[in-house]
């Protein structure tokens, strides 16, 4: 029982979290890896008769439509601290959420017991959102098409702790040997696997298996009595094959370098100045500055700064932004979203013009458009809402060197930890962990721990140079909204924002 009931969040957040408890398993918790669709959930007592009974209850007061979301998830993690892989965490989660919708109105209930009696109880609770005469549910179920973006080579359910432990030890050894100043290394390994089954009252049935693999490394280093700590992480929708030698070596190297970098770094200066964002994880700017504001739930309610901006010019011509759930093995990829809509690539801003919002089923019906595959949820305990997947800007015409050279005095931002936005006012922040000053067109002193604050629409207008380079970031980003966390990813070319407030400190 948590002691402090949650408070209303100030806005949507994005974090590059450390390794927060999730996972470690041994083989064969999932003995039927070949099972697909309804068959996967049959061992938990789910069958067509249960579906029919549940829909009868869900539609007992009419309602426009209803949906059942079954989920089974096994999460495992291992931790290395002070040289030993000596802690493991595992969790098993199973349940079904029932959603009943009338117009924009939602009734939602879930149960963690998949008996017909309990599922029908949850359905009756959710049904109370409507008040009309009952109607009948589906008589037959049709399997929907979906993508196949994350075929697994080595299923995580078949890999035991013994096979995973050497990965952590190797990273520890590499990081520890990389530099004598490194005093502490912590390594986190996490994986999760399982499946979702979405069935709606039209009889559409969608199924997806959702693997996720992740590594996290934190280092502390000491130099002349000064200490610094930093970390880094990598994630993807892959099976055990995710943990390649290349990734293991890279994360150890990056974690050490990013920690040692801080010894010579200072907080940036304070005030408004040009900021150049390095290609890659600077996609956090898009996520915060415009991404959340383009989620259609905020717009149908009229509470987004982008509410009246469809088909208007909101950015310079070189700016094209997509939200893409179709990149293979990507942390934000979805074969189907959590409402059963097929995964898609959605162009949000095309040559500076706002083309579409990101929709879930409710908002798509509200606007009379097709769903965009953005209906996502943390688990069966939550109703889906429009969420981002992988949000990135397409490359533009400029040479990245030219972009840096164009700045007389400003900041070059390279790595980030987290961001946040106020959807309506449009004010957003993102936190620079490492970067450099730009002085007279050149990268100079290292900087660290500096927050940036800007206003989304204004910042987009000021995105006046877009590089011809591009990088995806494969860090383990997690987006928070409405008390729900979902995995997302980011990408960005090098860009310049001509003026934005840098939250540093001025000396003297």
């Amino acid at each position: 029982m948590s002691s402090d009931p949650r408070q209303r969040p100030d806005g949507a957040t994005l974090t590059m979290s450390g390794f927060a408890g999730a996972t470690a398993s041994q083989a064969a918790l999932d003995p039927d890896a070949g099972l697909w669709g309804l068959a996967y959930f049959e061992r938990f007592g789910v069958n067509e008769a249960l579906l029919r009974a549940a829909f009868d209850r869900a539609l007992m007061h009419g309602a426009d439509w209803a949906e059942l979301f079954f989920e089974h998830r096994v999460s495992n993690s291992l931790g290395l601290e002070d040289g030993a892989v000596n802690r493991a965490y595992t969790s098993v989660s199973l349940g079904v959420g029932v959603r009943v919708v009338k117009g924009d109105q939602t009734g939602y209930a879930y149960t963690e017991e998949l008996s017909k009696e309990r599922v029908c109880e949850a359905a009756a609770t959710a049904a109370a959102v409507a008040n009309g005469p009952s109607r009948s549910g589906p008589t037959a179920f049709q399997v929907q098409k979906h993508l196949d973006l994350y075929q697994v080579k080595v299923p995580l359910s078949t890999v035991g702790v013994a096979q995973k432990m050497p990965i952590l030890s190797r990273i520890d050894a590499l990081a520890g040997a990389a530099d004598p100043r490194v005093t502490k290394v912590r390594v986190g390994y996490a994986d999760s696997y399982g499946a979702i089954l979405v069935v709606d009252s039209d009889g559409h049935l969608s199924f997806d298996r959702q693997p996720m693999s992740r590594l996290t490394v934190h280092c502390t280093a000491e130099q002349n009595g000064q200490r610094e700590s930093n970390g880094c992480n990598l994630a993807g929708r892959e099976g055990f094959e995710f943990f390649t030698d290349a990734r293991v070596e890279r994360i150890a190297k990056d974690a050490v370098e990013r920690t040692l970098f801080l010894f010579d770094a200072e907080t940036a200066p304070a005030g408004e100045m040009p900021v150049v964002l390095a290609a890659g994880s600077a996609g956090i700017l898009l996520h915060e500055a415009i991404g959340h504001g383009m989620e259609a739930d905020f717009n149908r309610k009229g509470v987004s700064v982008y509410s009246d901006k469809l088909n208007q010019v909101i950015a310079p011509k070189d700016v094209t932004i997509v939200d893409d759930g179709t990149r293979p093995f990507d942390r934000g990829a979805v074969n189907v979203d959590d409402e059963g809509n097929v995964g898609q690539r959605t162009t949000l801003v095309e040559d500076g013009v706002l083309r579409t919002y990101m929709h879930d089923r409710i908002s798509a019906l509200h606007y009379g458009v097709a769903p965009t595959g953005n209906g996502r949820r943390e688990s069966f305990r939550h109703p889906p809402v429009p969420r981002m997947r992988n949000t990135y800007m397409l490359p533009g015409p400029r040479d990245p060197q030219e972009i840096i050279a164009s700045v007389k005095r400003g900041v070059y931002a390279e790595t980030f930890t987290n961001g946040q936005v106020m959807i309506g006012a449009g004010d957003f922040t993102f936190y620079i962990k490492t970067g450099r000053l730009i002085e007279d067109g050149k990268l100079t002193r290292p900087i660290k721990d500096t927050n940036i604050i800007g206003n989304g629409p204004q910042c987009l207008e000021r995105t006046d140079m877009v590089g011809n380079d591009f990088a995806f970031d494969d860090g383990g980003w997690t987006c928070g909204k409405d008390g729900q966390s979902v995995p997302v990813s980011l990408g960005m070319p090098t860009v310049r924002v001509s003026a934005i407030t840098v939250g540093g400190v001025n000396k003297g």
Binding site: S3, Q7, A109, E112, T429
Partner: protein, 442 residues
């Protein structure tokens, strides 16, 4: 399920873990049920029921350690859960510092009724929740004057939960609690297209203690109206008056390096500072675990230690770290408990208005946005918004600003503490005034 049922289940699970080969175990079984309604612009937006249950087990097997949880409580599923968890734990590397706490630390549990459970929660029905939400919106709209409202969302939510904890070396405890909350948020439209949102909320253990709807409506209207026409602030150093609702962000960054994990892993700014003055003499912070109806109240912590009132800081002097049983063993020190509950401060006697009047010239920070801090070195940088203080009064609003510095230095620059603890939160923070703080703007 009654408290006794939960306790029985926890005992059975503890026995089951031993049958499968665990030397020791810490078991927690919990269940909760709650309902939340959201009302928007004259109609129901969403009604959501949540019924959770879970069993979590920390296992100690052959000098090795793991923690697992499941919500599948069917007997055959639990049997397999423990069999697999024990087998997995055996494969790990040993950790000589893992083990159950010394049972003497379980002793001395306070004999007080924390009064955390309000039985009226079971009688609340959804029509009454909807009526409360509707009423909140109506109050806002009736009293908003010419506020350019785009949308009003109100929410009503209540939860009840029980949990039982059993350790195989004798600890047993059962606790129940309820929580109730109400909130309302108002979105308005500015001529330039921005749509700022202001909100208010109340959260309590007992329904009767909730702030009245009239107060919530008044506060949300005032907080929204105060954002209209927000400009930018010139970059500079200011005396800042931090709203009691926002103080928690600054306090959280300051306290994070007190954790045993942070100290043992050598990434704590406060390493070696015990007994030293690390903040202004105006900062006294007492952890009070036994406040009746307190949002953070508890009789034991995650190690089963009996909770006690204790000072964290007295007149700015650091009195204790927050070290759990495991990290205490690793550090070869006495554990002090990692948990904090409700804080009490050395409160002053002035409220926000009086403090603003005293400050004369400066800025009032109403809220923080995003940002982060570095627990190893103390750097902190967070977005902020609020109002300019001029001639001792709150003047024009500003947004898109950022406060930065070192959180150690910031708390050393604490210049005044209000007498107005925030009742809707366990930090019970008062309005705080800090001098000479860097703010970035234009």
């Amino acid at each position: 399920m009654t408290e006794q049922d939960l306790l029985d289940l926890a005992r059975q699970a503890a026995a089951l873990s031993k049958r499968h080969g665990a030397d020791d175990a810490k078991i927690v079984v919990g269940r909760s049920r709650g309902v939340e309604v959201e009302w928007r612009d004259g109609r129901l937006e969403r009604v959501q029921e949540r019924t959770r249950r879970s069993l979590s087990a920390e296992l100690f097997v052959d000098g090795r350690y793991s923690a697992s949880s499941t919500n599948d409580l069917r007997p055959e599923a639990l049997d397999r859960f423990f069999a697999e968890a024990v087998a997995m734990t055996r494969l790990l590397e040993p950790d000589p510092y893992r083990g159950l706490p010394d049972p003497k630390r379980y002793e001395g549990r306070a004999q007080v009724d924390l009064d955390l459970f309000d039985p009226t929660q079971a009688k609340v029905d959804t029509p009454s929740r909807l009526e409360m939400s509707r009423h909140l919106e109506e109050l806002v709209r009736a009293n908003a004057g010419d506020l350019p409202i785009v949308s009003v969302t109100s929410g009503v939510s209540d939860d009840a939960g029980q949990s039982a904890r059993v350790h195989t070396n004798g600890f047993e405890g059962v606790a129940s609690g309820t929580s109730f909350s109400r909130s309302v948020q108002i979105t308005v439209k500015e001529p330039d297209g921005r749509r700022p949102m202001g909100y208010s909320y109340t959260v309590r253990r007992h329904a009767a203690d909730l702030d009245p709807a009239e107060k919530l409506a008044r506060e949300a209207i005032a907080r929204t109206a105060a954002q209209l026409g927000a400009g930018k602030l010139p970059t500079g150093r200011y005396t800042i008056v931090v709203d009691r609702r926002a103080v928690g962000r600054l306090l959280g960054a300051f306290l994070a390096p007190l954790a045993g994990s942070s100290l043992q892993q050598k990434r704590s700014l406060w390493d070696g500072k015990l007994g030293e003055r690390i903040a202004s003499p105006l900062l006294t912070l007492i952890d009070e675990p036994h406040v009746p109806r307190g949002l953070g109240s508890a009789l034991w912590d995650g190690d089963g230690f009996a909770t006690r009132r204790r000072p964290l800081l007295e007149e700015g002097v650091l009195r204790t770290y927050l070290i759990d049983d495991y990290y205490a063993r690793k550090m070869a020190v006495e554990p002090t408990s990692a948990a904090t509950h409700n804080f009490s401060w050395a409160y002053g006697d002035r409220d926000l208005t009086a403090l603003v009047g005293e400050v004369g010239e400066g800025v009032y920070l109403d809220r923080f946005l995003g940002g982060n801090s570095n627990e190893t070195t103390g750097e902190i940088s967070m977005g902020c918004a609020g109002r300019v203080i001029r001639n001792g009064l709150l003047a024009e609003p500003f947004a898109e600003a950022n406060v930065a510095g070192n959180f150690g230095e910031i708390w050393r620059q604490l210049a005044a503490v209000g007498g107005d603890p925030e009742p809707n939160g366990s930090a019970r923070a008062p309005t705080c005034v800090f001098e000479g703080i860097q703010i970035s703007g234009v």
